[in-house]
């Protein structure tokens, strides 16, 4: 049975929940659960906060429009995704999970005045060379629940957690066999100060301690605080704002954490369609000093292949 919520839960409570359930698990040493809960979390009547929306756009350096930017939708719906991951029978610990990738489809523009239905669930619990990965799907629908407006799939890794019976996918590179990264010519550079995580937390509501300060990050085993993955995604999307049509999709793969402060070099390249119009923009980002890759991905016109198949199927 699905879990229905009348309003978005507070992220702060969810984080506290996550911390206490992590402690409980350690104490009880319960036998690991190896299946995902087969229910979705649904929240109805979700609306944008106009002031936060404006602050979000300004932090990303983009004009504040009436249509919600992708990253803002992710932030708005994130508590629903978190609620999936703090369910008692969710097999992986929420705290310390690493964000591997995001795949998002924009089916139609979402206006700030729209009342929305948000559904979130988990899928694809699979092995990974350094732990176990899971996908959290979030769908944003019109208030009636009939029209699909936005779908985001976030892939997370629980590092060092190996669940019995889950194979490591064989297409992964064995450790030490990463392909060599050769940095292209940068087209832009971001100077991220130590307060980048706090600034994004303020507009997104995601106060995960690993982003806030050196001390809070160290408490969770990191040497310094790191930038939010969605900060990077939102900002790169703002940089590729010009040509985007109403229906578009994007994907980002995170390769290494952006320890703050950071100087991020970026390369953005446009790909032209047969008819001369914009097809997509590909982006790659790397550490300007060490040339270690941070993330890469693309923004493309229309829906992703996967979304097109789903729509046809429906």
């Amino acid at each position: 049975m699905d879990q229905y919520l009348n309003e978005m839960p507070l992220l702060s409570k969810l984080y506290l929940n996550a911390a206490s359930s992590a402690a409980k698990q350690r104490l009880l040493r319960a036998t690991p659960v190896v299946a995902l809960p087969s229910r979705a979390v649904e929240v109805r009547g979700v609306k944008a906060d106009l002031k936060k929306l404006t602050e979000f756009a300004h932090l990303m350096g983009m004009p504040a429009r009436d249509v919600l930017p992708s990253g803002y939708i992710h932030a708005l719906t994130f508590p629903a995704a978190m609620s999936v991951m703090v369910q008692d029978d969710f097999p992986l610990p929420l705290l310390g999970m690493i964000h591997l990738s995001n795949q998002v489809d924009h089916f139609a523009p979402v206006h700030f005045e729209q009342s929305l239905t948000v559904r979130a669930w988990a899928r694809n619990l699979t092995g990974h060379r350094s732990g176990t990965q899971v996908q959290i799907v979030v769908e944003v629908l019109s208030d009636s629940g009939l029209e699909l407006l936005w779908r985001g799939v976030s892939t997370y890794l629980a590092k060092g957690i190996y669940l019995p019976g889950l194979d490591k996918p064989n297409h992964q590179f064995a450790s030490g066999e990463r392909p060599m990264f050769s940095a292209p010519k940068p087209t832009a550079q971001w100077h991220l100060g130590v307060d980048t995580g706090r600034a994004y937390a303020a507009v997104s509501g995601d106060f995960n301690p690993i982003h806030l300060s050196v001390i809070s990050a160290k408490a969770l085993g990191l040497r310094r605080s790191i930038a939010h993955g969605m900060y990077a995604a939102s900002r790169v999307l703002a940089d590729i704002a010009t040509q985007r049509p109403d229906t578009f999709n994007w994907e980002i793969f995170f390769e290494s954490p952006m320890f703050l402060p950071a100087t991020v070099s970026l390369h953005i390249a446009d790909v032209v369609a047969d008819d001369g119009g914009w097809a997509k923009s590909e982006f790659t980002a790397w550490n300007a000093h060490t040339a270690r890759p941070y993330f890469h991905g693309f923004v493309g016109a229309g829906l992703s292949t996967r979304a097109r198949e789903t729509v046809a199927f429906e």
């Binding site: 106009l50 002031k51 404006t54 602050e55 756009a57 300004h58 983009m62 004009p63 504040a64 429009r65 009436d66 700030f112 005045e113 704002a241 010009t242 040509q243 119009g277 914009w278």
Partner: protein, 443 residues
């Protein structure tokens, strides 16, 4: 060696510049719906709506010019940044300009002239202002210390320079509407002019009431449907008071010129409030408009800028259009009687009425305009017929674009008068004793 081939050869003949249409966001009283919106946000919103209305996605426009009166220094390339953030082709050049409240008018006239000369085929003129998100600077004292600190080489130098900071240096500098040379605010200046021309409180209130009634009626008959895009939940100008009345206006206490005694007639009701908003106008050559299957509402026939010596009170601060309009019309062999619509920007009701009074005054006509008598009378039935700034509000640089798009649509709807295209005049006064006026003609 190779020579690039031009798409069209340059022929120095003058051709028509047409107004295709316009788009603005509703104007909001400062501290209201747009209090957290920046100039960049609002100009982009107005531009987005224009692009959507006329199908300009990925279009390379000849040039975009816009500006803001209250501008953050970081927004030095405000207009180009708005273009880059819009759906227009990134190959569209843009520049910022600023002529106080006449910014939008000057953008329209300057770009029209480029079209007329064949330098560009299409253009977007615009303007934006936010009184809510106004730039606040550090005090002069602190600024000087900070700049010196930046130049200091040794720690001792830095300590010495930092020691110069006084508590008073820490209070910020906010922009004011005061004239730098006189220290008087625009309202105080106009109060003197209003008293000089003996404009009554009742006449000012009547003009304000007409502005609200006319604007409300225009909204009610959907006149603004294709001139406006909602933004931040607003679909009408938030200053509009459709239920205003002479009784309500009469209750307001004077806000300017309070030391004038009987002459204190200017209230918050017959003066425009501080407002946030943005506007844009699409201009084109006939060939470009036709090739893109776009409407042609009106021609930008001519424009004229003027200025008066207000510093020692020879003329009122906002009286420049009283001189510029007669010059503009004379150059086009026209008189006030040949004009079908007058759009006289209502900075204050007193500004409009002082201008009309000057034109009706024999002495002003003879001594100041060099005519044989009074310049003429404006038929009130032709004045600001769809409301103006008293009702809509006045985000300084955005007012020109609002007026041009509104008048162009009115002229197009009117079509012909006595077998000739309908004509309209726009008059906008500006800080510094300036004014910019323009003549439009229906198509």
């Amino acid at each position: 060696m190779s020579t690039p081939t031009a798409e069209n050869s340059y022929t120095p003949t003058v051709r028509n510049a047409v107004i295709v249409g316009g788009n603005r966001i509703p104007f909001a009283r400062s501290g209201g719906a747009y209090s957290h919106s920046s100039n960049q946000d609002m100009l982009t919103a107005a531009l987005d709506g224009l692009v959507a209305r006329f199908g300009l996605q990925e279009a390379v426009i000849g040039e975009v010019a816009a500006g803001a009166v209250l501008k953050h220094s970081r927004d030095f390339n405000l207009t180009r940044e708005a273009v880059l953030g819009s759906a227009l082709s990134s190959q569209t050049p843009a520049y910022d300009l600023q002529q106080a409240c006449a910014t939008g008018m000057e953008a329209v006239i300057g770009l029209s002239n480029k079209i007329k000369l064949g330098q560009i085929e299409s253009a977007i003129a615009g303007g934006v202002d936010s009184a809510s998100d106004a730039p606040i600077a550090v005090s002069e004292g602190l600024r000087s210390v900070l700049l010196d600190l930046n130049r200091a080489k040794t720690v001792m130098d830095k300590v010495k320079i930092a020691a110069r900071i006084r508590p008073k240096d820490l209070s910020p500098d906010a922009p004011s509407t005061g004239e730098p040379r006189t220290g008087l605010s625009m309202g105080e200046h106009q109060a003197l002019t209003t008293a000089q021309w003996k404009i009554s409180r009742e006449d000012q209130d009547k003009l304000a009431l007409a502005s609200h009634k006319n604007l409300a009626a225009a909204y009610d008959r959907h006149f603004f449907d294709d001139l406006l895009t909602p933004y931040r939940g607003l679909s009408r100008d938030s200053n509009l008071r459709a239920d205003s009345s002479m009784e309500k206006l009469a209750k307001l206490k004077p806000a300017f010129g309070r030391n004038l005694g009987e002459g204190a007639t200017m209230t918050a009701g017959n003066s425009t409030p501080l407002t946030d908003g943005a506007s844009t106008v699409l201009l084109a050559s006939e060939a470009w408009a036709q090739a893109h299957d776009l409407p042609m509402l009106a021609n930008v026939v001519d424009g004229e800028a003027g200025a008066v010596d207000f510093v020692h009170g020879k003329d009122g601060l906002l009286m420049a259009p009283a001189f510029a309009v007669p010059r503009l019309l004379a150059r086009n062999q026209l008189t006030l009687a040949d004009i079908d619509y007058f759009e006289i920007h209502e900075a204050f009701a007193g500004t409009v009425l002082s201008t009309l009074a000057a034109w009706e005054d024999e002495e002003f006509g003879k001594e100041r305009l060099g005519l044989s008598g009074a310049y003429g009378t404006v038929d009130r039935a032709k004045l600001n017929v769809n409301g103006s700034s008293l009702a809509a509000g006045h985000p300084f640089a955005a007012t020109g674009g609002r007026l041009v798009a509104t008048l162009a649509k009115m002229l197009h709807e009117r079509g012909h008068v006595d077998g000739r295209p309908a004509r309209g005049i726009i008059s906008v006064c500006a800080a510094g004793g300036q004014g910019v006026v323009a003549l439009l003609e229906a198509r």
